[in-house]
């Protein structure tokens, strides 16, 4: 691109994405952001100066050819842009919404050096939505069946990616999912207002149409073990069971009625639709004053979900300061707009209940910041004598997840880390057990959708190689 043109393009202002008004949206579960109109998308895409060595693509964990798909949008070829995305990313409508672009592609985009980076995530979302809404999802040509069969355990982003990649190469794929719907965290964790469930359902349906078999209500380790799958006709197994075991804080009162793990709270509300109780049968305690403990995406999703159940007040309690919060900046901003309150440098020490064992308050202590820990962040230390009480009738604990024990319990020859994550090779996804691969949160601990998908892609490549050559 000639420098003059590039200069002109750099002058185009970043296009804002229209959103529901905060006062309005906090009363419903509809998606917060509406997405670009075609005109906005074209304008935004024209801000890209088509770098020869695009830094953005290097910042993308799955290496999407970003300038290429952005150029297609600038030229009005929206469906082609979506297909381009799908060459490297099986779930662009999901990633366009939930990826932390500000830490990946958009962080390094050159236009961001002077002004604001190209809105790569919003463009990704636009192209994928356009394709889906215009019914132009193309089913790729499936090569002749190889006769090989792969069992994918877990229907989250890692498992779905493996399934899609392998079915496209002619292998038979069955996804075994413990819950009644595939999608993993995308359906039970991330709320409707951030990622509408019909988008995940459409992606799953697309995989089905390509020939992936989805078997829900199938808990591997219980219904069948990995060894039984391997001896029962599957040539390889991929484990993508996620980081599903909620941690608690081990402080007094944690089992009072009204204290939830974020997983339980979000599952009740999102997957089971407790926000439509009694239309849907699953209840949740809505509460008058809600506290959420933690500072990550899960805590933020819990807090913003709680806000939508109309309590008087929702407060996030985080032991470090705002700058250290791992949640996405955009979400913190959204939460604040919706009336979320924050107590930084604060940590709960005890939950207090009434005579019936129902939560009525939380006792907290103020934290100071000490010397940096191994993550480079300053370690929070309790300030003695600073204890204080906050009234609350619901508390949601979002302090992280560990690995679920069901598969290791029944597969003793799988190697585990000291946190019970499965040990797998970073490049190939191979575990120490022949024919068994793993990736996503079960290997990394809680990470991100795109990293889980990247793992899935690499594992699919090496599964394909293993199935073709037979060499372990």
């Amino acid at each position: 691109m000639d420098p003059k043109e590039a200069k002109e393009r750099m002058k185009i202002p970043r296009q804002d994405m229209p959103e529901q008004d905060p006062g309005e949206r906090v009363r419903n579960f509809y998606e917060v952001a509406y997405g670009y109109t075609p005109e906005q998308a074209v304008t935004e895409a024209r801000r890209c100066i088509q770098c020869k060595t695009p830094l953005c693509a290097a910042g993308c964990p799955v290496g999407i050819d970003i300038p290429w798909f952005v150029r297609l949008i600038a030229e009005g070829k929206f469906v082609e842009a979506a297909w381009k995305l799908k060459e490297t990313n099986g779930l662009p409508a999901v990633c366009g919404r939930v990826c932390p672009q500000e830490d990946q592609c958009e962080k390094v985009c050159v236009t961001g050096k002077r002004g604001k980076p190209v809105s790569i995530g919003r463009l990704e979302r636009f192209a994928a939505d356009y394709e889906r809404e215009h019914g132009e999802t193309a089913i790729p040509e499936i090569p002749r069946r190889t006769g090989k069969k792969v069992a994918v355990i877990g229907g989250g982003p890692a498992g779905l990616t493996v399934a899609g990649d392998l079915v496209k190469r002619g292998h038979g794929v069955t996804v075994f999912e413990a819950l009644h719907t595939p999608g993993g965290v995308l359906v039970y964790g991330i709320p409707e207002f951030r990622l509408p469930k019909n988008i995940v359902a459409a992606e799953v349906e697309y995989l089905r149409r390509m020939g992936v078999e989805m078997e829900c209500n199938a808990v591997i380790g219980k219904l069948e073990t990995i060894d039984e799958l391997l001896s029962g006709g599957f040539d390889a197994v991929f484990i993508g069971t996620g980081a599903g075991l909620p941690y608690f804080m081990n402080i007094p009162g944690e089992n009072l009625v009204g204290v939830y793990s974020a997983n339980e709270y979000l599952t009740r509300v999102n997957l089971m639709r407790a926000y439509e109780f009694p239309e849907y049968d699953t209840p949740v305690i809505r509460g008058r004053r809600v506290v959420v403990v933690g500072g990550g995406n899960t805590a933020m999703d819990s807090a913003r979900t709680a806000l939508r159940l109309c309590p008087e007040e929702v407060t996030m309690i985080y032991r470090r300061s705002m700058e250290e919060m791992p949640a996405r900046v955009e979400e913190i901003h959204h939460g604040a707009e919706e009336g979320l309150k924050f107590q930084f440098l604060t940590n709960p020490v005890r939950f207090v209940g009434d005579d019936e064992g129902r939560l009525k308050a939380v006792e907290c202590v103020r934290m100071g910041l000490g010397s940096p820990d191994e993550s480079g962040r300053r370690r929070p230390v309790p300030a003695e004598g600073s204890e204080f009480c906050m009234d609350c009738d619901v508390a949601i604990i979002a302090v992280g997840n560990g690995a679920n024990p069901l598969i290791p319990q029944t597969t003793p020859d799988l190697k585990l880390t000291k946190w019970n994550n499965i040990v797998a090779d970073g490049e190939t996804g191979r575990t120490g057990k022949k024919g068994v691969f793993a990736g996503g949160d079960i290997v990394r601990g809680g990470a991100t959708v795109i990293l889980a998908m990247g793992d899935g892609r690499r594992a699919a490549n090496s599964i394909h190689e293993y199935l073709t050559t037979g060499v372990w």
Binding site: A178, L179, H180, Y188, C216, N217, A218, V219, K222, L223, E224, G244, L245, P246, F248, N250, E254, N255, L256, V257, G258, Y260, S261, N263, E264, T267, R268, M272, R273, F277, P278, E279, Y280, D281, T282, P283, I285, E356, G357, R358, N404, P405, L406
Partner: protein, 285 residues
């Protein structure tokens, strides 16, 4: 979809259902349970597998109508289907030859005691069973329990059948009779299990109980089913459902099981108002 092959009324508000679920039937062991969801709007509830027939590919569940979901389930007919059934979940009962094993079943809990009693019998135990209910009409599985027991005692709270009193009265007498007991397994309402554990504690008799907390996923993902066991938080769906009764914080479990009383009542009222009449009509009650 999981088809209901057979339906039988066992007692007032207690129904037995035989459900087609071949893979679960093949795998399931005594003490395990399923989580089911009736329809798209349904909640997920755990139910013990009372029996299974791997040849026919069916599992047997026994339901007591206590709320909307169990009422809906009890109102299903043969040939109807359940949307989701997942299992077998939980750890199987640890079965070995304990010498004399006492199986205590209270109310619907007998549905859980029965397969365990049978497994203990098959392992060579001398099985002594004590089953009880509020009143005669609520007693279930008497014949089945008799068939797996060397001795069977029956109690009713109102004295309408068997011993007048509680299962714990019989258990106390039995212990006083100086007969050596290898282990006690007790399943029933939480206060009953708590009482059994209190009776056996001074004698140091191994006492297992099968817990029934509120569950959502049943796979260890949510923590809804957590209970305090020997001061530690444990998830009943993956670490249980059976625990040493002397280590369980029963009072906490009772309180947690009351979490949604208000909501459950509301759902039930709403259900009876809108659909109750239609359901009962269809069933011909």
């Amino acid at each position: 979809m999981f088809e209901i092959k057979e339906k039988k009324k066992l007692a007032h508000l207690v129904t037995l259902l035989r459900v087609k679920a071949p893979r679960i039937a093949e795998k399931r062991k005594a003490g395990q349970f399923v989580v089911l969801r009736l329809n798209e709007h349904g909640e997920r509830i755990p139910l013990t597998i009372a029996d299974s027939d791997p040849v026919e590919g069916t599992i047997t569940i026994i339901v007591q109508e206590v709320g909307k979901t169990t009422a809906l389930l009890s109102n299903k007919l043969e040939g109807d289907a359940i949307l989701d059934v997942v299992g077998p979940l939980g750890r199987p009962t640890h079965i070995e030859n304990y010498g004399t094993a006492v199986c205590v079943g209270g109310g619907i809990g007998t549905a859980v005691t029965y397969p365990i009693g049978r497994a203990l019998k098959e392992a060579g135990c001398k099985v002594v069973s004590v089953i009880g209910s509020r009143t005669k009409d609520l007693l279930i599985l008497e014949d089945e329990m008799r068939s797996v027991s060397d001795e069977l005692f029956i109690t009713t709270d109102d004295g309408s059948y068997g011993h007048h009193g509680f299962v714990t009265n019989v258990l106390e007498e039995f212990i006083a009779g100086k007969r050596k007991i290898g282990m006690v397994i007790a399943v029933g309402p939480v206060p009953m299990m708590r009482a059994v554990a209190q009776v056996t504690r001074p004698h140091g008799i191994l006492t297992m109980v099968s817990l029934n907390p509120i569950m959502v996923d049943g796979t260890g993902m949510c923590g809804s089913c957590r209970v305090t066991i020997a001061g530690q938080n444990r998830f009943v769906c993956v670490d249980g459902p059976e625990f040493n009764g002397h280590e369980v914080d029963f009072n906490e479990l009772i309180r947690r099981n009351r979490s949604y009383l208000k909501e459950e009542r509301m759902a039930m009222e709403e259900f009876v108002y809108h659909e109750g009449a239609r359901c009962y009509e269809r069933r011909g009650d």
